[in-house]
Symmetry: C2
Subunit: 266 residues, 2 copies
């Protein structure tokens, strides 16, 4: 029991040069953590995939959770450098093009097949079942993206849009992107022959951008007009009353007149 020769061994800091084992451990851990989730991955799986001994994780990182945090930190830089959100865009681009670029880069990240392709699923799992990584994830990746999207949406809605409305519109845009990350396993089961890969990103991004820009255009008009509240039509049908749990219909209804064809372009 000579502890002197073992003092300071655990959580040993890496001294500059990266041994192969440590690097292999990091990459394998990323893949396996994303595959099975943090709680369900075993250090033995990671070590087997990395071709390392079972004790390697504890030697190099100091434990399973420490390795997990290391993986998250290590992946922050990688995925952020690839596919920056202003990518393909000049500095003074129109907000419409900024939105297109934002959506496209988000989808490219989702459908990426590079060495950090597991990042997308890991984020998704952490969002639904928060572990030790969600806070740092939100701080370093989600928040900057939310702020960037917020600026774009505000530019599209105009200066008079209520912050609350701008926030909801941002949610509407980003949700359409997140959808393809979170429903990746569902879509093939739902539509036989559905197969999404990086090649389909352009088509999907184009749809999301067009859909969102159309909605935002109308929101901008309604927002500008709604400075002075306008009379609203009542709901077309009256509720029948057999609903088991009806919430009070206190919110405002739509001010659309759906049956009339609008905007007779062409």
């Amino acid at each position: 029991m000579f502890e002197t020769q073992l003092s300071g061994r655990m959580t040993r800091k890496h001294n500059g040069t990266a041994p192969q084992t440590r690097q292999a451990l990091l990459e394998a851990a990323g893949a396996v953590f994303a595959e099975r989730g943090y709680r369900c991955t075993t250090v033995r799986q990671i070590c087997r995939q990395a071709g390392a001994n079972v004790a390697a994780v504890n030697y190099h990182s100091g434990g399973k959770e420490a390795l997990y945090r290391e993986v998250i930190r290590h992946a922050h830089g990688r995925a952020a450098a690839k596919f920056p959100p202003d990518f393909d865009l000049g500095p003074g681009a129109a907000p419409e093009d900024q939105l297109r670029a934002f959506v496209r880069s988000f989808l490219l990240r989702i459908f990426d097949t590079g060495p950090t392709a597991w990042m997308s699923k890991l984020i998704a799992m952490e969002m639904i079942d928060p572990g030790v990584a969600l806070d740092s994830l939100v701080r370093e990746r989600v928040r900057p993206m939310a702020e960037r999207l917020g600026r774009i949406v505000r530019a599209l809605l105009g200066p008079d849009a209520a912050p609350e409305r701008a926030r909801l519109c941002g949610f509407s845009v980003i949700s359409q992107c997140i959808f393809y990350a979170h429903c990746r396993a569902v879509l093939p089961r739902l539509y036989a022959g559905w197969k999404t890969g990086p090649a389909d990103v352009e088509r999907l991004a184009e749809h999301i951008a067009r859909f969102s820009l159309a909605a935002l255009r109308e929101e901008a008009q309604a927002g500008a007009g709604a400075q002075t509240p306008r009379p609203r039509r009542a709901r077309a049908r009256v509720p029948r009353g057999n609903a088991p749990a009806r919430a009070p219909l206190a919110a405002a209804h739509s001010q659309n007149t759906p049956t009339l064809p609008q905007k007779p372009t062409l």
Copy 2:
């Protein structure tokens, strides 16, 4: 080792009258499975929460996985009966109102606080990390809802809309709803003071419906006009070329002219 007296004991079928233990096991299992995910829940957690012995799961259901399937099957009926998607609606309602009702009922299900509130998280986890339940989940819950939404969207887009486009529009609508289920843990971390509950459903549903209806209205027009392909403007900005992984821009670009204000209604 007299196996005769034990033959046919496991996976015993419940004979009509439900013992308290069995019922408690089912309800506890639903909550715990949704809390921790299938792989990470232990039968001991379930049994402790149900106040039952560790062997109860194997006696009543025949194992952990069998209990999981039972929970899923048991929950299908409950959540589907509550908040039907056509709720609050007459039989011949306008598609706009059908969409509003669909979105509202979806959000009500997400923010439900009843005894099956765990269903939402369980579905989310199963969608991201598919286990044994996703197939039955898609078959019995996702597909009917997708078909219903598909009919509504097609009614809104008009008969000339391409099926592919209708599908993408359906994704855009449903994704805005799913967002609030899948990002439930993120939003409070992102916006201090953000707190979503059943009371906010009306506000969110109204936004999603208005946002989507605005976009679908323009999609309907564009789709009707696109029967004969029209000349399209090129992208406003040219790519700079420093993109690390550019996909071939084979897909169609937007036919919007973002800088021009369209639809000068009002």
